[in-house]
Structure formats: structure tokens, C-alpha cells
Symmetry: C2
Subunit: 327 residues, 2 copies
């Protein structure tokens, strides 16, 4: 079964675990959590965990509770992020706080957080502490990444290194953590664990570079507007590398554009088009593609080094999927 | 050194741990956390943990990081509670979200949560999983208690049992958890651990009954208005027992008062005074005092049963302090 077909079975599987694990929860706390968990998504993180586990002979039942835990954890971050971003819609439906109110958004997010840790840590005494250390370290990095992202908005310049660090923390470490958790539970070597972690971290960075790239140069997609990052003056790798690579005229223009807030639709169209031209002229567009491929390739190299008797094709197809922006 | 003198040393001790444990945190995340931790409080939970540990020969240094963790955890709950309660002031200073903004309140709260779990679980492999299970169970109960409290506002009637369950979860289990953590780290018997947990749980319930009682019948205190719970139609034990014990005339009157929102200061004064008379006439005032003493006594009985070669006087003096409303 290919990953995307398999992913379609997860909602039903997770629903049963959910009912079981939350059965004593007060109804008004249960509802927002169930709503957040039933609103779809691609289940990339549980898939990574399950397939990493399979790579060393593990079975679905060994890891499914932890995989549910990582999806719950991911959804917790979304519930609180949506509040902080004032996001009204996620996956085509009202966000949790829009549907249930701010307080329910905060409280149910906190509740998902702690429940997800319990699930991730699980009950197998052999690996519990390793799993706790990994998921708690990851949670800290994600929050630091979120804060860096906020900080960058008011920072005049962000270095490429800082930007990579931010997307690594904000996006990549949870993919890496999912993979390593699967490997830990399978009882494989520390070296294999670390290689899978690196594989996840590197393809996560590649994904985020790609995602930012497509925000400016992608096809128009449902519910997604091209140029949103430019209008919000987001310091993505396109901007950062363009400011470095561009001619001095273009650099001045670019910085001026990024100090402006547009007020009319015409202004917006002009700004997006002018900035995209600078991104192209400067070579930043090509630079970002190269960087994305560099991280992807480095990630795949790590995966190839993992010592396993089983096929890596499922993890390879997820890497393919992620970097084709299906995360 | 008596507990209150000892408590005065904790801020300095915790400040050092804080700087150490948060040294790599982005500044904009560090500031709200440091602010929340420096705004005072009575340090009851760390004191309970340190003294429970001492009861079995433990030293301060064995437990001080975990004690700092439990205070950090407590402060996390306050940071998010203040957002949900729209509270502008805590301990005489602006609340975290009022000072740093809503997003900083949510994000720094989440960050405190996960950091506090790391600190509570600590690094001594012998007891880490026991500590994780205890603090995570407690965190879940606290959130369930918070939800029950919210739910009770729109519920017509709340039973005494439900009310006790709510205050147990919302307030008492964290005191109980603090004590048991100290006992776990000291390596004492499961029986001693459970007795200390029960001691904390029961004095926590006694404290909350007392706190609710004083909201109606206490002396006017700085920043605290008498009758707030009555004006907010809060279903405390005074209300619940009064609705059960009162004459049918008084019961009807009481329920009518609790369906009203007062609009003028005169109305407020009348409502508070009428409801307090019903609380007194019905015998609810005496009933609550009796209940509070019952829980306190049951808690002290548990403490007496703990097998220890050391003096229990410090824990007794904290019990005394708590139930004299210094929590």
C-alpha cells in the first residue's frame, strides 16, 4: 500500500484511540480536541514514525499510540498558532478558537499538549525516558522557532543562517523527532536513530525553503494567494539571498519595498511583481532552488546510510511528497 | 528557620536556576517568563516539596530543581488562566499578557509548561518516570478542573460532590503532587508517598472551601472585594449547601438572586447582604466551616501516619498557613 493510501486509514484508527484516551474528559474540553483532530491533514508525522519503525522490523501496533501522540502534538501547535496568527480558517474549516472561542482554544491546546506528551512517551518502560527527552527537547525548539519567526518581523536584517535555524526549529525538528521516535521504539542503534533524525531535519528544511519559494513563484492554489509573504514583508530565503546577491540599485529598491505596507489592490499587484523581478534578476530564485536541492540531497544521503534489512521506498516516497509541497 | 523565612530565600535561589536553565532562550521569550517568575507569590508548592523531601532525610540540593519546576508549572497555569479570566492584575502588577501582549502570554505559557515538565522530571534516572507520570496526570486533572469550573457557570445546579471534585482538581492536586514529588525523590515507601499526597489533597480542599468562605465572610483585604463570588453567581459550597439546607422560601429567593446580574452599586450591596443572610440562616455558613475542618483534620491524620524519623513541624506549619488563607 502506498503512503497516501495508508494515510487514509489513519483517521479511523486515530478516532478509536481518541475515544479511548479521552473518554473521561469533560465534554466541553473533549469537543474542541476532537474537532481539531478530525479536521484532516496529511498525517505526514505519524507516517514518518510508522515507516521509520518498519525499517527495523517494527509493526504498526508497536507505534500507533505514539504516532497518534505526535499528530495530537502537531495539532496542539496549530491550535495555539492559529490564535496567535488570528487565522480564521484551517483546512477549509473554522479554526478551533473561531469555532469554540478564545478560552476553549487556549485550554484545549494546553490539554492536547500534555495528553500528546503522555502518548508520545507511551508505556514501554524500556524507551520512555529517551522518548520524553526527545519530544520535550523538540517542543522547546518549536517554541523557540516560533519566537524567532515573530522576532524576524521587526528585525531589519536576518542572516541566512538565522533563517535556516528558524525554519529548522519551527518545521523540521518535528519531522526529525517523528522519525527518531519510530527508530527508538524499534530498538535500533543510536547511529541509525541519528541518521533518521538528520534525514527528517534536512528534508524539513528543504520543504520549508520550497514552501517559501512557492509562495512567490508557485501556481495559484485553492485558498492560497501568491505573494502573501512579499506583502507581509516576510524575510524568507528569497528575500535574504536577494538582498545579498542583487545589484546595489535593486538592493535599495528591495529594501524600500519591504519597508512599505500596501494599501490598495493595485499597489499590491505592483509590489508583488516588482519584488519577484528583483528575486529573479538577482539570481535568488535559482539560489533558493539550489539550496532546496542541496538540503534534500543531504537528507537522502542520510537515509541511504541507515542500516536496515527492509525497503526504504516508503520513506523515499514521503520525502518526494514533502518536497513536492504536500506537507 | 521557619517556612516563611525560608521562603524568602527561594526567589534568589530560583533566579540563579532560571538564568541557567533559560540561558539559550530568545530574549522576547525569556522576558515574559522571567517576569512571571519574579512577581512573587508564597512559594507554597516548592516549600511542600522541599519539606516532604526533608522528612526522609533529603537535602535541599536534591530537590531544588524540581521545586523550581513545580513553581514554574504553577506560574504557567496562572499566565494562561489570567488570559482566560481577562485578569489585568496579579500580585499587584500587570499580568503577563497585559504587559507583553496576548501572543506572548500564550507562547511564553506554553514554553513555561514544557520547561517545567523537564525540570520536574529532572535527571535522576531512578525516579524520572515516576515523576513524569505524576506531574502529567496532575496537569491533566488541573485542566479538567479548570474546564469544570467554566462549565459550572452555565449549569443550573452543581452537586456538592461535583464541587469538591472541581476544587480538588483545580487547586488541591498540585499541592498533593508537590508533596509526593519530594517523597519520591527521597526514595521513601509508596505508602508514605500516598499518605503525603492525601495530606496535600485534603488540605488543598480545605483551603479552597475556606477561600470561598472568606470571599463572602472574610475581612476586607487589600485588592480583594467581599462578595465577588456572590455577584458572579459562583456556585461555591456556601451556595450549594445553602440551596440544600435553606427553607423553601429562602431557597427560591437564593436561586432568584443567582439568576440576576446586578447593574448598580446599590443593587450589588443589597444582593450581597441578602444572600449572606440566607447563607447564615440556612446553616450553610456553619456547614462550610465544619466541612473545612473535616478536610483539614483528615489531612492532618494522613500526615501523622507518615513514617518518618524527622520532625513534621514544618509541614504542619504550612498546613496551618494554608488554611489560614495565605496560599
Amino acid at each position: 500500500m502506498n503512503p497516501m493510501e495508508y494515510a487514509k486509514q489513519l483517521p479511523e484508527l486515530f478516532k478509536k484511540l481518541h475515544q479511548d484516551f479521552f473518554k473521561d474528559t469533560p465534554d466541553n474540553l473533549y469537543q474542541p480536541v476532537a474537532y481539531a483532530m478530525q479536521s484532516g491533514g496529511k498525517y505526514i508525522r505519524p507516517l514518518l514514525m510508522i515507516y521509520a519503525n518498519e525499517l527495523f522490523g517494527g509493526k504498526q501496533e508497536d507505534v500507533v499510540c505514539n504516532a497518534y501522540g505526535i499528530e495530537l502534538f502537531h495539532n496542539f501547535t496549530l491550535v495555539h498558532d492559529d490564535i496567535m496568527d488570528h487565522a480564521a480558517i484551517r483546512r477549509g474549516k473554522p479554526t478551533v478558537f473561531k469555532k469554540f472561542g478564545l478560552n476553549a482554544g487556549i485550554l484545549s491546546g494546553d490539554f492536547m499538549f500534555i495528553k500528546s506528551l503522555q502518548l508520545c512517551v507511551g508505556s514501554d518502560s524500556q524507551y520512555r525516558m529517551e522518548l520524553f527527552d526527545l519530544i520535550s527537547k523538540t517542543a522547546i525548539e518549536i517554541h523557540e522557532g516560533q519566537q524567532m519567526d515573530v522576532d524576524f518581523e521587526s528585525q531589519d536584517m536576518v542572516s541566512e543562517e538565522e533563517y535556516i535555524q528558524m525554519i529548522c526549529y519551527k518545521t523540521a525538528v518535528l519531522l526529525a523527532c517523528s522519525l527518531q521516535m519510530g527508530a527508538i521504539i524499534a530498538g535500533t542503534s543510536k547511529k541509525n536513530q541519528e541518521l533518521l533524525y538528520e534525514f527528517g531535519r534536512l528534508i524539513g528544511i528543504a520543504f520549508q525553503i520550497q514552501d517559501d519559494y512557492l509562495d512567490s513563484f508557485g501556481d495559484q492554489q485553492v485558498g492560497k494567494r501568491i505573494g502573501g509573504d512579499i506583502l507581509n514583508n516576510k524575510k524568507t530565503l528569497l528575500y535574504i539571498s536577494s538582498a545579498k546577491l542583487a545589484s546595489s540599485d535593486d538592493r535599495v529598491k528591495l529594501i524600500e519595498w519591504y519597508q512599505q505596507q500596501t494599501s490598495s489592490e493595485d499597489d499590491e499587484i505592483t509590489k508583488i511583481s516588482e519584488v519577484k523581478e528583483i528575486f529573479t534578476r538577482s539570481g535568488a530564485k535559482e539560489y533558493c532552488k539550489d539550496q532546496m536541492n542541496k538540503y534534500l540531497q543531504a537528507g537522502l544521503d542520510c537515509l541511504h546510510k541507515v542500516e536496515s534489512d527492509y525497503s526504504k521506498s516508503k520513506l523515499l516516497s514521503i520525502a518526494d511528497l514533502i518536497t513536492k509541497r504536500e506537507l
